[in-house]
Symmetry: C2
Subunit: 169 residues, 2 copies
Amino acid sequence: MGFWKSLFSPSDTAVAPQRPTTQPVGRVEPESRVVFSTERDLDLYELEELCDAVGWSRRPLRKVRKAIQHSFLVVSMWEQRGTKRRMIGFARATSDHAFNATIWDVVVHPDYQSRGLGKALMRYTLKKLRSEDISNITLFADPHVVDFYRRLGFILDPEGIKGMFWYPD
Amino acid sequence: MGFWKSLFSPSDTAVAPQRPTTQPVGRVEPESRVVFSTERDLDLYELEELCDAVGWSRRPLRKVRKAIQHSFLVVSMWEQRGTKRRMIGFARATSDHAFNATIWDVVVHPDYQSRGLGKALMRYTLKKLRSEDISNITLFADPHVVDFYRRLGFILDPEGIKGMFWYPD
């Protein structure tokens, strides 16, 4: 398994082995499964491709590398088929290693959306942060994913606490 | 000056030299001034006293030390009078060192509030983050300080982006 970690207990049906419907009849392909990694030594071009697929604007790879290096947690999600793998999801978190963490750049490839993989990615990320004894886990959610995070247990503006942003002029 | 940094240009009247009204008549005391530091080697008991003064619940010093150590930026604000100094404000930020920073634990001692020092503390913090080329500066504001941050240029829920929190059960 190397640094791979299979995340799902056999009872977890949310992320059953994937068998694409386009698979040619009569050809035997190894069954695919979804695995997670906290490895930071990622192929940044592969990550960029993933971010392109959801329409994010490109960022300088030099800065992406720095951000990954200085994130507290980096999670990538992969479809593994035999020895081949494809990056299908990503998330990372900044943190003070003690009290607070903030999750950024949560992405699932469009081809793999709507089958519970985003939820699985977030659950893995939360589990990892909790195992480091981080109690205050935060994020900034785009309007269309607020309900997604709410279903995962995130609370919107708890006790009236508001997310605020400052941008340079 | 050592690691001290005097922050205000002579034209900045927001933080004029402080002369407490309780000063005994006839006794010559050195004029006080407000200085900022990004030094991390702080007296944690002094910091705890400052946080006590605004009614924050106490946190284990071991974790506070770890959080300071792993913050991207730590800013303390001091009243300096001759060779004596007193911690009167504090703020820190987590960051990925590239894109995002999140400001936490902003505090000004009640005796020093309402004279522009919170604004000065935040401006210093923003200036430091900007000098590191961080473009997305965020925070989570309690309801009663939302307007304070708005006046500093922070935007509430920009484009509908919402702050969300996840707490352990």
